[in-house]
Structure formats: structure tokens, C-alpha cells
Symmetry: C2
Subunit: 481 residues, 2 copies
């Protein structure tokens, strides 16, 4: 049965971490002497109190087991969003708690969907917190996808158990701790490099750090109303394109490259296909943008590559209003929303490795009609993918489609037109942020009805946690002793 004592213990420890994290934007608010300082201190106090009491009454709990992990992960994200939303509401800058929760869930799930109509009206402390939720969420996701979910039998990285750095999994906790140290080191290091480059390219330190948080987490919150388009700067666009691609690539690969195995990207099938899709989609969109606008070829390429990368990595930064582009270009971007990044990255979506396996699986089925007796495993490079994993991925795809369809039904029942409904669902379940129609790149989620905001928050969470982690909690079998 479930080990509730241990679950509460870990969740409490996470809250103590959150209380500490809240002191960072408090410091920023203090430095800029802005109106949000008290809100952070109150929230940190509340979080410390809840986490501290929970931790003390559950001391000496046992090691958790795999099944408990689903609850820890899901409720960890929910608690962070519930408490992390308080500074926005307490400070009065986002008076509706529904809006504040949506914004914070969007942050911690690295989605980047916003209800703010005037981002630049927020004080520095709140802007910093908003971006920091991305970065912390990204940290959580790297650990989750590379160290935790494979042990639970979920996620694209289950294929690569052996490739994840760290000791072999005898006990959960030491392995997870060790993997965290290694990967977070990589994450912090790359983040520092990006922030310095953005500073050199002309951003001030505050904006450079906030945009680094948004890039590395493939989040997408900006400190500017017009996102990256605000700077209208080729160097900044290029830096962010490169780091979005890095953030959308498996961090286990980055770790290996930093350890000196420089050709690790080249030997990784998923990374190659990921780059291939980006190149091909950029070509398709670039030609359309060039043909249908009076931009020069350089600008057309820059805008197209930026938008393609921003969407396939599920970041959601913008430099152009792609809703003014041709239907075909918009459709390509819409499809990229579902593709998403690589497994083991901070990107969302279905993930490139799953798409590869599903395509190979489909062709295998055709071959099986011609040779009904043949045994035809799906192969990635030299490896035959175990049948259970192919089945698991087929199921994942089905749930992704089912949840998308359900989502579009719900959003259209709430009054959205078809394009906006489809856009809002794709942009949240795949953790992108901006969608199409009423929630397009120049709009925001402010006008979505409250019920829709809660529902889309659920989609962000489900998409971020690879569906199974959340959906399993709705299964009666999960709760049985």
C-alpha cells in the first residue's frame, strides 16, 4: 500500500526548499525597493510553517517505493503552484487567485502561458519570481525525466536507463541525489554561459538572467510585453535560438560532452532527428515567410528559425507574430507543438524519440502484413526496443490524442472558437505557452473563463509529467491496497 508518511515527509522537505527559494525574489524586491517584498516574506513564512510542521511530524519515515513516487511528483508540482502563486495575489498585482495559480503552474511546468496583459507593469521581484519558477521547474524536469520516471516505467528515457549518469539504481534516494548533482551542475553551468552572453549582447543583468531562466527551462516567460521581439537584435535572437536548442536536447548528452566525449550528439539518433526536423521545418516556413512578406531573406530566415525552434523546444518566446504568416506555416508550427523536444531535456510535447519509435512501429506493422510469421522488433541504431516500451509509447500517444480531443471539447464548450480551443490545448499540454487564435503570440490567457484556466492548468501539469504520472492517480487500481 501507499506509504503516506514518507510521501508527506518528502513533500514537506520540498516545501522547505521552496521557502528558501522564495527568499531570492525577496532579495531582488529589496534591492529594487519594490512593492512585492512583503508578499514574498509572508509567503516564505507560510511555506516554512507548513513544510516545517509536516517535516517534523513525519521524521523517521521509511524509504519510499516506486508507486509512492507518482504521488510525490504530482503533488509536489501542485503544492509548488498553490504556494508559489501567493506572492502575486498578496501583493495585489494579480488579484484573482485563479489567475495567479494559472501563472505559477505555467511557470513551474515551464509552459510560459500568461494571463498578464501588461507584463512590464510588474515590479522586479515578481518578474524575477515568475522567471525563477521556470528555472526551478526545469531543474525538476531534468531530474524527473532522467532519474525518477525511468524507474517508474514512464517517459521516453526508460529506453536509456543505462545511459543516465550516476550509480546503478539499488536504492532510489542515493541514486537520485547523485544524478541530481551531476545534471544540475550541467544546467547551472550552461545557464551561466547564456546569461553572460545575453549581457554581452546588450541586455541588462536583470533581463539577461530572467531570459536565461526562460530559455534553459524552455519556459517562455519574458520581462517584456513583446517578448524577445522587444530587443529587435540579431545577436540576442541567435543566442536564444542556440540555447533553446541546447535546452531541448537530452541533458545526459550535455553531461557526456562536457566529460570530453565530444561526438555524443552525433552518435545520438534522437539528437540528429531533432536537428533534422528543425532544419526541415525552418526551410518550409522560411520559404513561405519570404514569399508572403517583404522581409529580406536574412530577416525571413531569422524569424522563421526562431519561431520553429521556440515552438518545437516548447519554449514559446516570440520575435514575430506568426498568426500573420500563411495557413501552411501556422499548420507546420501547430504540428511542431506536438513533436516537442528530446527526452531528458526541459522541452515538453510528445518528444522526438517517441515519434521516431512510433513511425518505425507503423512501418513494422506494414511489413508484418507481408511476412506474418516474421519477428520484427523496432530498432533504434543497434538496439532492439523491447516490446513493452513500444506498447507503453503507443499508449502514451493515445492518451495524448485523447486528452487533446477532450481538451478541445471542453474549451469549445466554454465558448472558444475552434482554432483558439485547439491552440490553447496544444500550447498547454505540450508546455509551450502561446497558441493560436485568441491565445496567439500577441494575445494572452486573460480572457479565458476561470474554469478554463483551471482545466488548462491541469493539462500543463499532465503534459509536463508525461501524462501517465498524473493519469495513474485517476485509476482505482492505484489506490487499492
Amino acid at each position: 500500500m501507499l506509504n503516506y508518511r514518507a510521501i508527506v515527509n518528502i513533500l514537506s522537505a520540498l516545501l522547505l526548499f521552496l521557502a528558501g527559494a522564495l527568499l531570492i525574489p525577496a532579495a531582488v524586491a529589496y534591492i529594487y525597493a519594490d512593492a512585492s517584498l512583503d508578499a514574498f516574506l509572508y509567503t516564505a513564512g507560510i511555506t516554512l510553517l507548513v513544510g516545517g510542521v509536516g517535516f517534523l511530524i513525519t521524521r523517521k519515515s521509511q524509504e519510499i517505493r516506486a508507486r509512492d513516487g507518482f504521488l510525490v511528483v504530482t503533488f509536489g508540482w501542485i503544492l509548488f503552484a498553490l504556494l508559489g502563486a501567493l506572492p502575486f495575489t498578496i501583493s495585489g498585482f494579480i488579484p484573482s487567485y485563479t489567475d495567479a495559480f494559472f501563472e505559477t503552474m505555467s511557470g513551474f511546468t515551464t509552459t510560459g502561458a500568461s494571463i498578464l496583459t501588461n507584463i512590464e507593469g510588474l515590479p522586479h521581484g515578481l518578474l524575477f519570481w515568475r522567471s525563477l519558477t521556470h528555472w526551478l521547474g526545469g531543474m525538476g524536469i531534468i531530474l524527473l525525466s532522467l532519474a525518477i520516471l525511468p524507474l517508474l516505467g514512464v517517459g521516453g528515457m526508460q529506453l536509456f536507463k543505462a545511459e543516465v549518469p550516476g550509480p546503478t539504481p539499488d536504492k532510489l534516494t542515493p541514486r537520485i541525489k547523485h544524478t541530481a548533482e551531476l545534471l544540475w551542475g550541467v544546467y547551472v553551468l550552461i545557464s551561466v554561459v547564456e546569461a553572460v552572453l545575453l549581457r554581452l549582447a546588450g541586455m541588462n543583468w536583470f533581463d539577461a538572467i530572467c531570459h536565461t531562466f526562460g530559455t534553459m527551462a524552455t519556459g517562455g516567460f519574458s520581462t517584456k510585453n513583446t517578448s524577445i521581439g522587444h530587443y529587435n537584435s540579431a545577436p540576442i535572437d541567435i543566442i536564444i535560438i542556440v540555447f533553446m536548442i541546447i535546452a531541448g536536447t537530452n541533458f545526459a548528452l550535455h553531461y557526456r560532452v562536457l566529460r570530453g566525449k565530444l561526438f555524443s550528439y552525433w552518435h545520438d539518433r534522437e539528437a540528429l532527428v531533432f536537428i533534422g526536423i528543425i532544419a526541415f521545418a525552418s526551410l518550409l516556413v522560411g520559404v513561405e515567410v519570404y514569399r508572403h512578406s517583404n522581409l529580406g531573406i536574412g530577416r525571413a530566415v531569422r524569424d522563421s528559425v526562431f519561431q520553429v525552434v521556440s515552438i518545437i523546444t516548447t519554449t514559446g518566446y516570440g520575435t514575430a507574430d506568426y498568426e500573420k504568416w500563411s495557413t501552411f506555416s501556422q499548420l507546420v508550427l501547430f504540428l511542431l507543438m506536438f513533436v516537442g523536444g528530446s527526452a531528458g531535456s526541459t522541452g515538453g510535447g510528445i518528444k522526438v524519440i517517441r515519434i521516431i519509435i512510433l513511425i518505425k512501429f507503423g512501418f513494422n506493422e506494414l511489413k508484418r502484413l507481408i511476412h506474418p510469421q516474421a519477428v520484427l522488433p523496432v530498432r533504434i541504431g543497434n538496439m532492439a526496443v523491447p516490446r513493452e516500451i513500444v506498447t507503453n509509447i503507443s499508449g502514451f500517444f493515445l492518451f495524448y490524442m485523447a486528452l487533446t480531443v477532450l481538451g478541445v471539447l471542453v474549451m469549445s464548450a466554454l465558448g472558444l472558437d475552434l482554432i483558439s480551443a485547439a491552440g490553447s490545448v496544444a500550447a498547454t499540454i505540450s508546455n509551450i505557452g502561446p497558441g493560436l487564435g485568441a491565445v496567439g503570440p500577441t494575445d494572452n490567457y486573460a480572457l479565458i473563463p476561470d474554469a478554463g484556466k483551471w482545466f488548462l492548468s491541469f493539462l500543463m501539469l499532465a503534459g509536463r509529467l508525461e501524462l501517465y504520472t498524473v493519469l495513474i492517480l485517476f485509476s482505482p487500481a492505484f489506490w487499492k491496497k
Copy 2:
């Protein structure tokens, strides 16, 4: 290797059958003394010549084998559309051969998508031929889905091999012949009943027969510009609703009921779910239509049920312009386009049994995360569905989605807006006919560019032949010795 001689032999025999079938509209043209008589006689002559020569030079060929079957089926449909289109062009009523081919492929695949802007301007002979292509296509589909495809390892009915009437499959030909006799008997019998009822409800014999052809094949070609809405008659609406449901149900069940096993529908899981979906969708749409219009409750129910049944059975007859309904209602109808009828019916789409199996498969995957060691087959009633069939159906769903996505990309590249592109693809791959947007219920396919007409014809064929039958021909392994 492939047995080309035998393949040509069977295709030639089919052409001889087609030549005979062409004499029926010729007789109609003669009776009504209309302008299309010569066109039918010319076409029958050409078809007789091609089929006769082909048949004579391939006499004494061997029994065909399973793999040859894919070629016979696909090229059978293509040849029928190529030659069946000639009367429209020769008579001058559809001058463009592309248009005529589209219309005829739409007929034989029981789709019902039309390029005609003034249906009532056609002479009786051509109108009759148009409807007859539906009915003949429906005959082909019943035989295909119940007797041929299961032997090739394709199609939803592979589950029910044992339930198909006829001798056990020692040799292909005698089994197929016997099954054909039994099932076509049922098909003809139900058709006669419908035609008589429509005559009694006030249609003239010509219209009653043509609309029977369109209903029984779940085709959707009408002899009137405003489809069934032309009659504005409750009895006619109700008759057509009932017979669309019958046509969308497994004909093996009808056979058993006619043999006296009256509760066969009740014991069939797929038939129950099919009725359940119709009831639930009608309720959703009915409430919306009632709320958003000033129709009385009776009329709102009648229009809603008609449209839900027309679309889920993939017929495509219309009594109301559903594009004036709410976004939510249109979305429900759009989703029903993918569901489709039962396996072993004349309906297209993914098919109810596949949807049931996919849903059960998804929940099984959730359970497997909780109990990784458990063996959990998908169950339909008392039967455990073999793993290969679940895999085959997952693959089918993937190809359905992939082809839909590709289709929407192609159609939007040809200049259609998103809604029209998605509507035209869904309406053709699922063999419905009217879609959304520019190809909605009050529009037609006349304005689609020629390349788009050929592409949509391909989608109609692929969808009608359960994808695998057509896609396998693109696999190099199929053509290897």
C-alpha cells in the same frame, strides 16, 4: 512472388461485371429519353472490350494468394473509378475528367463528396449511375470487410473470423463466393424494404431507389441540390435515420438476425457502443441546437439525430446546415467523422470496434504501470484480443493520424484555410462527403484545385480500403520476389 496473370484475370472479370452494370443506367437513360444514353453505351463497349481481352488472354490462371489480394482490391477500385467516370465526361455534363474521376471515386468508395454545383441539372441516367456507384461500392465493401480483408490480416473484422457466415477458409474463391451470396442477399433485401418505405413516404420511385442506394452504402449522393432537406418530411427523415444506422451496423449481425437469432444486436458489444455513441452525441448536439436556435424541441431533436447519424455512419446526407450550429456541436460532429461505423458495415472511419479496443488498451497500459508483472490482455466480452491484433490496430490508428496530418498539410499548401483543409481531409479519408468550411454541407468540392481533387481521391480510396491495403503497395518489401 506476385501472380500477375491471375491478378489481371480477376480484374478483367470485374470489368465484365462493370460493363453489365453500365447497362442499368443506360436503360434508365432510355426510359427517360435523356441525353446520357450514348455515353453509357460507349463506356459499356470500352469496358467490355478491355475486360474481354484481358479475360481471354489470362484464362487458365492459378488460384490467387493472399498477397495478390492487395493488388486486386486496390486496382479493382481504381479501374472502376477510371472507367465509371467516362459517362460523365463523354456526355459533357462533367467536362473535366478530373472532376468526373473525383465524383466516381467518391461514388464507389461510398464517400458522397461531390463537385456538382447543380445536381438537379443532370439527366436521370447520370443521376442513377451516380447513386448506383454507391450501392455497388457498398456491396464491394461488405464482401471486402467480412470475407477478404480478414484473410489478409487487415481490418476490424479480423477479430471475428469465426463469426462470418460461409464455409471455413480452405480455398479463397469458394469461401468468398458463398459469403457474397449470403451477405448480398441481406443487402438487397434491406435495400428493397427501404425503397418501398421511401416510396410510401412520398418520394417517387426514381428518388426512392437513388436515395436507398445512397443510404445502404452510407454514401450520401442525393438527386436533390439540398439533399434530404429538400423533402422537409419527418417520415422520410426517420426512415433514412433508421436505415443509415442499419447500414452502419455489421452485416454479419443482420444475417444472424434474419436467420432468427433476434438478440444478436444485443449481444454484440460493438453494436451497443455504436448506439450508445449515437445517443450520447445526439443529446450533446440536440441540447446545443435547441438552446442556440428558435426551433421547437421536436425539430431540434430530429435535425440533431439526423446529422449525428449521417456523420457517424459516414453517409453525409443533410437536412440542416450544421455550420450554423455552435462551435461545440460542430466539434462533436467533426470527432464523429473519425469514429465511423461498425466493422463489417458499409460505414467508413476508424470503426467503433477499433476505438473500443484502443481505449481498453490505453487503460491496460495504466494498470501495467501499477502491476508491471501482470499479464493483462485487452478483453471484448469474454474474448481476450490477441496481442498481434491490438498492435495492428494501434498501427492503423497511427497511420490514420499520420495520413490526416499529411492531408491537412497538403490541402493547406494548396491554399485552403485550416478549417476547410481539416474538414476536407476528414470527410474524404473517413468517406463521409461533406466536411467543414469551404467544403461544408451547403458547399461542394468544385473549387478545390485539380491536384487537391486527385489527392482527396487517394484519401477516399485509402480510407475505404482500411489504409493498410493501399499503403502496403508503397512498401518496397511488397514488390520483392
